[in-house]
């Protein structure tokens, strides 16, 4: 853990006032620019970060609230729910219930960060180091972002999406667009490709491709194949079963991405509606890596701003007052209450991330015997910059914790694993910060950040396009955790809107294949 600040004597000649980048709270574009250059020197020359070009935009409170309410994306298309969130945020902000983020940063090339105009100059410095260098480096180097998002095209895409939605509203009316968007938003979490790369084609290209394939099939059709007898035992399989298999193959089932499936296969959607689904799906996919890297992303940014602020102070470029203000905000953001504190609201990704990054540095430079045993690769290697950059590039939260959470840190944070079995009247402490517990705690914590454990695994399994066209979804239930019933009925209605026919969702126990629940739009209507 890097120390907050090296002790300095009052007479230290280092802090010669003339070297200071700024003095006091006020900022101007000139000071910002000078400070940016100083930060950049530390970030690139000392830390060796590799970043996209930066574009720092200064925005007002209202613009920040607005960005907040639109998925943190100032270029988002228009929809009533963003207006609703804005109204809530605004009220809460005006009444002083909540402060505002100091910045918002967009994973794009160039990397755009939005800084709040109300920030004092020390805060602007903090924010620039944090977002324009910390997050920026992470975006550019982490494998998830490199593989799954297109930093060069994303701004254009959001612009396109916004214009497309506006155009659709003009042509098809607010109501129709709103209905489609509402329905698509309801299954946004089920609108990402988790395991395979998303197809990059636009809808239009896909249609052309499909037509070409159909034409090819027609050309090469040979009726004789039908007369070739099936392999032995095929008679056993009923006609219906055979048909089902053929269907699954044709629709490429099972399919985990509901939005993608509906966009390609829904019998009722029009072209523009499919394009809206594609837009929502792409937005969901764009944010998916961020959901998986909260700890790492914030850890990287927080470590970076902390290091840079101290470096600037050591070089005599910022005053003690400025450093103190930066550290004050720093520790506010990093506050981690204990589990029994009324303020506790889960693990704070900033706190965990910063602690883990600091721990990696410590293990590189001041390793203990325990570290050498657990982390032979990095313990005592001295090259903490290299070790951190390697971790930032190649892990996501789940694997990062599995790999790097050390016994030292588990003890320090006094982490423990609490097992909650709904049938029991009590929780059970599964493991604590002791010799027997380290691996278990680490395992459990990594699982807490693994989408495979936290997100419901739902797949499209069947859709009989010639029969009653009912869409069958299957939820593979792990650890007996089903889906809240009211959320099932509401979301299924939205899916039915997009599919055009009845939709049924069944929960199947992952371990024993038993059906745990079944919700269908057919029953819902009867119930109402």
């Amino acid at each position: 853990m890097p120390r907050a600040k090296k002790t300095k004597t009052d007479t230290d000649a280092n802090t010669d006032a003339s070297d200071l980048l700024f003095d006091g709270a006020d900022w101007s574009f000139k000071i910002l620019s000078k400070t940016y250059d100083a930060i950049e020197r530390v970030a690139l020359d000392d830390l060796g970060l590799n970043v996209y070009p930066n574009q720092v935009e200064i925005i007002s409170t209202e613009q920040m609230l607005d960005a907040y309410s639109s998925f943190g994306m100032p270029l988002m298309y228009r929809h009533w729910s963003f207006g609703k969130h804005f109204a809530r945020e605004e009220k809460s902000y005006r009444q002083g219930h909540s402060g505002l983020a100091y910045e918002i940063v967009i994973n794009a090339n160039p990397c755009i960060s939005y800084n709040l105009e109300d920030n004092t100059m020390p805060l602007q410095a903090l924010v620039m180091a944090h977002a324009a260098f910390g997050h920026n480096h992470f975006f550019k180097n982490n494998y998830l972002f490199r593989q799954w998002t297109d930093a060069d095209g994303v701004l254009d895409y959001f612009q396109y999406a916004k214009e497309f939605i506006m155009g659709a509203e003009e042509r098809h009316g607010f109501g129709a667009v709103e209905e489609t968007l509402d329905a698509a938003h309801a299954i946004m979490d089920q609108g990402v490709f988790r395991y395979r790369r998303p197809p990059e084609l636009t809808t239009e290209q896909r249609q052309t491709r499909k037509r070409e394939i159909e034409e090819y099939r027609e050309r090469t059709f040979n009726d004789l194949w039908r007369t070739v007898p099936d392999k032995g035992g095929a008679e056993e399989a009923t006609e219906a079963e055979k048909e089902r298999l053929a269907r699954r193959q044709q629709l490429r089932l099972p399919e985990e991405n509901l939005l993608f499936f509906l966009e390609t296969n829904s019998p009722v959607l029009e072209g523009w509606q499919r394009e809206i689904l594609a837009i929502v799906r792409n937005v969901a996919q764009y944010f998916y890596p961020q959901r998986q890297t909260k700890i790492m992303n914030e850890g990287c940014a927080t470590f970076t701003h902390h290091y840079i602020a101290n470096a600037l102070y050591d070089r005599g470029q910022i005053s003690e007052g400025a450093l103190l203000e930066i550290l004050h905000s720093h520790s506010n953001v990093l506050f981690q209450p204990d589990f029994d504190d009324p303020r506790f609201n889960g693990l704070n990704p900033y706190a965990i991330g910063f602690a883990m990054m600091g721990d990696i540095r410590r293990m590189c430079t001041e390793p203990t015997d325990e570290d050498r045993e657990w982390f032979p690769d990095i313990a005592g290697s001295e090259d903490w910059r290299g070790a951190l950059k390697y971790a930032w590039a190649n892990y996501r939260d789940e694997s990062f914790i599995r790999q790097y959470l050390s016994p030292h840190l588990i003890r320090k944070l006094k982490l423990f694993d609490l097992t909650d079995n709904a049938e029991d009247k009590h929780y059970t402490v599964g493991a604590i910060h002791d010799e027997r517990g380290y691996r278990k705690v680490r395992e459990a914590m990594a699982n807490n950040y693994d989408p495979a454990h936290t997100d419901a695994d739902i797949q499209v399994v069947d859709a009989d396009l010639r029969g009653d066209r009912q869409l069958l979804l299957e939820h593979s239930v792990r650890n007996g955790i089903g889906l809240a019933e009211d959320s099932r009925t509401k979301v299924l209605k939205h899916i039915r809107h997009l599919w055009g026919y009845e939709v049924t969702l069944s929960g199947i126990d992952h371990d024993n294949g038993k059906q745990l629940y079944r919700t269908s739009t057919i029953d819902v209507d009867e119930a109402e």
Binding site: F29, K30, S33, D37, E57, I58, S60, Q63, D66, S69, S70, R78, H79, W80, F82, G83, K84, F86, A87, R88, K91, Y114, F174, E178, H185, A186, Q336, D338, F339, D340, L347, L413, K414, L415, F416, D417, L418, T419, D420, N421, A422, K425, H426, Y427, T428, V429, I432, A444, N447, N448, A456, I458, I481, G482, L483, A484, E485, K490, V491, H494
Partner: protein, 438 residues
């Protein structure tokens, strides 16, 4: 200096969030309207135009997502800050489950029953006007803030170029040039001519040479002085100053008269309130200062505060003329007609003590209407009655005697209403642009 890193977005049009806002209001329209109706009932007449904190049910504006059930299955959570637990410890769950191991439900605020937000003044009025069916022109007219005129108010040292006062500026400039002894153009030209003449026939070493040098120096001095003492200096410049002055504003008093006997129910009072609010909005735009007097009556009339006027009930018969008498008392007492514009709005369900209606019409004709700028009367009926009395000729005693009064009087309007949309036509005459009340 790498200034290109920074972009100042603060000046961007701030209505970016407006599109989302409008979509939200359109979406939640039904709920907002309901909350608004309640709020009109609860609010004071004069406060209607302010923004409003509204609270609407989340149903209908919820955004469902599939979420894990909170009360089933097995899960393991890692928590910080262990103090005394050891492996294998059992901790009793708090009753009703959930809370201890965190909150899995209530994402996105969908768990709350009520969604709270603030409606702006314009949004409020837009919705308020909606079922009053006001013509668009009147809507914008009413939404405007009090109009002002600009009056000349002397001269200022700064302003827009369009307001530059050339005469005054030049006068200042001239005075300063004289005072500071600025060399004028003629003197410079004369000196230049002298120099040219000398240069043409000038012998080196001669006396002319040294004179020429002196003249050069003199010319240089003049030019420098011209530069230092400018022809027009920022201190000379004067702009015409204009000050916003509210339009001639006299005072107005608005009388609200209402029958509060048992036959006036919630619905009737609600319609009556909208009727009063509309008149108040109109007056507010036209007069800087408005007094509102509330007079309620059963078989006797009282001046009351707004709270009592709308909310408390009173039992008794109905004698409408008492309200008119009371109003005249107040007028004579506190609102001399030479300084106050008097408006009156009366709402009733049309019932009256038999024989009193004649008294009313003579009171109106002889005393009340002559002192009023405008007198509006609405008779609030239910749908069934409305059909029965489809013909304006037909009606109970009160209606018939008011009809007589209405004959040939332009500042008296009366109408039967059953729904908010019926109210505006009562004021149609009043709101006509040419009919400036004062």
């Amino acid at each position: 200096m790498a200034m290109h890193h920074f972009i100042d977005r603060r000046q961007n049009p701030s209505d970016r969030s407006l599109g989302n806002r409008q979509r939200f209001i359109r979406r939640a329209r039904a709920q907002i309207k309901k909350a608004l109706d309640q709020s009109i009932r609860d609010r004071k007449l004069g406060d209607v135009t302010n923004g409003e904190d509204l609270s609407i049910p989340t149903k209908g504006i919820s955004e469902p997502r599939l979420r894990n059930a909170g009360n089933e299955g097995r899960r393991a959570r890692v928590l910080p800050g262990n103090k005394e637990f050891v492996t294998g410890d059992h901790i009793k769950k708090p009753p009703q489950g959930g809370e201890g191991a965190g909150k899995d439900g209530a994402q996105d605020g969908d768990g709350e029953d009520e969604f709270q937000f603030t409606l702006s003044r314009d949004e409020f009025l837009e919705l308020f006007f909606e079922d009053l069916e006001l013509p668009d022109l009147i809507k914008t007219d009413l939404k405007e803030s009090p109009t002002v005129t600009y009056q000349r108010a002397g001269f200022a040292r700064d302003g827009t170029p369009a307001n530059l006062d050339v005469m005054r500026t030049m006068r200042n400039s001239l005075g300063r040039r004289i005072a500071l002894n600025r060399p004028d153009k003629k003197a410079v030209i004369a000196l230049e001519a002298q120099i040219t003449a000398l240069e043409e026939n000038c012998e080196p070493e001669s006396e002319d040479r040294s004179r020429l040098d002196a003249l050069y120096e003199e010319l240089e001095g003049l030019r420098r002085r011209q530069k230092i003492v400018g022809y027009i200096d920022p201190v000379d410049v004067r702009y015409r100053q204009r000050e916003p002055v509210p339009k001639p504003n006299t005072k107005a008093v608005m009388f609200c008269l209402m029958d509060v006997s048992g036959s006036m129910g919630e619905r009737e009072k609600d319609l009556a309130k909208r009727f009063f609010v509309l008149l108040h909005l109109f007056l507010k735009r036209r007069y800087e200062h408005i007094d509102v007097v509330f007079i309620r009556h059963t078989h006797e009339a009282q001046e009351v505060d707004e709270e009592t006027f709308f909310y408390s009930r009173q039992s008794g018969g109905t004698v409408v003329s008492t309200a008119l008498t009371k109003m005249m008392e107040v007028v004579n007492d506190r609102y001399p007609t030479d300084t106050w514009n008097i408006y009156a709005a009366q709402a009733s369900d049309g019932e009256n003590f038999s024989g009193d209606s004649q008294t009313c019409s003579s009171l109106l004709a002889e005393q009340v209407i002559p002192v009023c700028q405008y007198y509006a009367y609405v008779e609030i009926l239910d749908e069934r009655e409305f059909e029965l009395f489809g013909n304006p000729e037909a009606g109970a005693a009160l209606w018939r005697s008011y009809r007589e009064v209405a004959q040939g009087r332009e500042n008296f309007a009366m109408k039967r209403v059953t729904k908010p949309g019926d109210i505006y036509p009562v004021f149609r005459e009043l709101f006509l642009p040419q009919n400036v009340g004062a």
